[in-house]
């Protein structure tokens, strides 16, 4: 596999999701990264095994980035394009696939096995083995599904690169404000503390925030809670919200409807805290506490803070 990896930079460094994509490509063969905008050193890409970085100094929008990536594939003679299935990859990968007439296998959770790659379908209720019918293929990697690996590679060579990328067509009117504050964005979060209707009202979320702070986790919520406005929409995880796969998902006062489980059941470890021992969520959990969240959660927070 000879890959071009499209990498998103933030503060001159590759984002976590992009590093995972770059490491995925490097572990499968030769990987060359394509970036645009300000870069610091090699953006941290050499460490995960990227050989060289093709750098366009102008910061491009996603449509332009797709043209840059396609040009890099032609000039490097690559057979594969890899990028993270985050907000950038969802916009860039399908355009690249159309330009290169390549099959796109999106949001994979497994490494290539012969011609096929595993991905989640039916919102995490099942998996599929998918193949591409083209010589070239485009792969997007699910955030937090792959590790970064050894992370001790030599610095990558950074080369200036440009091509005819056309005009910027999406104009930013107001720059992004982090919706999760200092916490990791939900799709990339390794630790998530989530709560539902069992919290009885939005004024009771303090103990959830405290637990999240103690762990360095991101907060999330169930659909009913976001629908009635107790919590913002972007916190809604589940089949019609965001699908996540953290290392640890703690669900407080969430019964575990099938639609909710669909979005979270790829979490590596699930902890459920619920007053109802019959809550369906316990069947999908690794660890559980049957008890009142208002008593259990503060004690749990204290126990975590007591760790060294």
């Amino acid at each position: 596999m000879k890959s071009i990896v499209y990498v998103q930079l933030q503060g001159g460094k590759a984002t976590k999701a992009s590093l995972e994509a770059a490491a995925f490509a490097a572990q499968e063969g030769e990987a060359v990264a394509v970036v645009s905008g300000a870069i610091e050193g090699d953006g941290g890409l050499g460490a995960v095994g990227v050989r060289s970085v093709l750098h366009c100094a102008e910061e491009l929008d996603f449509g332009q980035s797709a043209r840059l990536v396609s040009a890099a594939v032609e000039s490097e003679g690559s057979d594969t394009v890899v990028m993270a299935h985050d907000h950038s990859g969802r916009a860039v990968a399908p355009r690249v696939a159309v330009r290169l007439k390549a099959g796109l296998i999106a949001s994979v959770t497994g490494r290539p096995s012969g011609e096929t790659i595993k991905r989640n379908v039916f919102s995490g209720k099942a998996t599929a083995e998918v193949s591409a019918s083209s010589d070239r293929r485009v792969i997007t990697t699910t955030p937090n599904a792959f590790g970064i690996g050894s992370n001790d590679g030599a610095p990558a060579e950074v080369k200036s690169f440009s091509s005819d990328v056309g005009d910027r067509r999406v104009q930013v009117v107001e720059a992004a404000k982090p919706s999760t504050g200092d916490r990791a964005p939900l799709p990339e979060a390794e630790l998530v503390v989530s709560a539902g209707r069992g919290m009885k009202g939005p004024e009771n979320w303090g103990i959830i925030e405290d637990l999240a702070d103690a762990l360095g986790a991101t907060t999330a919520c169930s659909r009913p809670v976001s629908d009635i406005g107790w919590r913002p929409h972007h916190e809604h995880v589940g089949q019609t919200g965001i699908a996540i796969r953290p290392n640890l998902y703690i669900a407080v006062g969430i019964s575990g409807a099938i639609q909710h489980l669909a979005g979270v059941n790829n979490s590596k470890v699930i902890v459920v805290i619920n007053t109802d021992p019959e809550a369906p969520f316990f069947k999908a959990a690794d660890y559980g506490i049957v008890g009142d969240a208002f008593e259990v959660v503060p004690k749990l927070t204290a126990a975590i803070l007591a760790l060294d």
Binding site: Q10, G63, A66, H87, S88, R90, A91, A93, P94, R95, A97, V98, A102, G103, L104, A106, T116, V121, F122, S123, G124, K125, A126, T127, A128, E129, S131, A132, S133, R169, V170, V173, E174, A176, K177, S179, T180, P185, H234, H236, Q239, T240, G241, L248, A257, A262, N265, K268, V269, V271, F282, K283, Y287, I289, V290, E295, V296, A302, A303, I304
Partner: protein, 246 residues
């Protein structure tokens, strides 16, 4: 405003998923089909709201066989004005996008709305393919769309938070939660939907680029380990030493 909304059929969100014995396709026994929630709740309803305010019409387009007609009629009952169905089995994102692009080119639309993904294959890449095929700007995961005169102002979800963007001229967007609220069709809408046009067109022959070799269900959890409510320290110990999650 002339808005094209891409609608697909998906299993109801409460569906317990199972596959045929060969693992090649969904076992549809007892499965209820709905309009993909992102297509309906957000893309379709916002398009209808905009046309109600500014005039124009909403056309839906679906790639699928006649078994899609009930969900298309529902879209008409909610308030779409007309529907197009491309008479082909939806095979993969590239084929669907190719067929949708052909329908989009045959009309004159100011905007093309899609849901951010379908809840069956979850790729979320049809909007981007469509934008590339039509050479249009694309804005993904739009959680709010308002117009300032002719200028669409879209809030989109990025890894850095919510960003407000705009485009000139026709565009493609993919809708996420927040763009509008679910709308339940009323009796008048349901009756009216029967007489609204549903044009069936033959496919242009767009090719699929990927193939599902087989489906599988995830391994079942081995069972929950319960910890006493008075002893959260034990849970912390298990998470650290056994699960190595913290």
């Amino acid at each position: 405003m002339e808005i094209l909304v891409c609608i697909s059929k998906s299993p109801d969100t409460t569906t317990k998923i199972g596959f045929t014995a060969d693992g090649k396709s969904l076992d549809e026994t007892g499965v209820q089909f709905i309009i993909n929630p992102y297509d309906e709740w957000y893309a379709l309803v916002r398009a209808i709201e905009l046309v109600e305010k500014n005039g124009g019409s909403v056309t839906t387009v679906t790639v699928g066989e006649a078994d899609c007609d009930p969900v298309i009629r529902k879209a008409l009952a909610i308030g779409a004005h007309k529907a197009v169905r491309v008479n082909a089995v939806a095979a993969d994102a590239a084929q669907v996008a190719g067929e949708l692009a052909a329908v989009a080119k045959s009309g004159s639309y100011e905007a093309i709305f899609c849901g951010k993904e379908t809840i069956d294959h979850n790729s979320g890449v049809v909007p981007g393919m469509l934008a590339e095929m039509l050479d249009l700007p694309l804005v993904t995961w739009v959680s709010s769309l308002e117009y300032d005169g002719d200028k669409p102002l879209m809030k989109r979800e990025t890894v850095n938070g919510i960003e407000t963007v705009t485009v000139d001229g026709p565009y493609v967007l993919s809708a996420s939660k927040g763009m509008s609220e679910q709308r339940i069709p009323n009796m008048r809408g349901i009756m009216g939907a029967r007489s609204k046009p549903l044009d069936v067109v033959e496919p242009c022959g767009a090719a699929a680029m990927t193939h599902v070799e087989g489906f599988a269900l995830p391994p079942a959890k081995s069972g929950v380990k319960l910890v006493d409510a008075d002893n959260p320290e034990e849970l912390v110990r298990l998470l650290r030493e056994e699960a190595k999650a913290i």
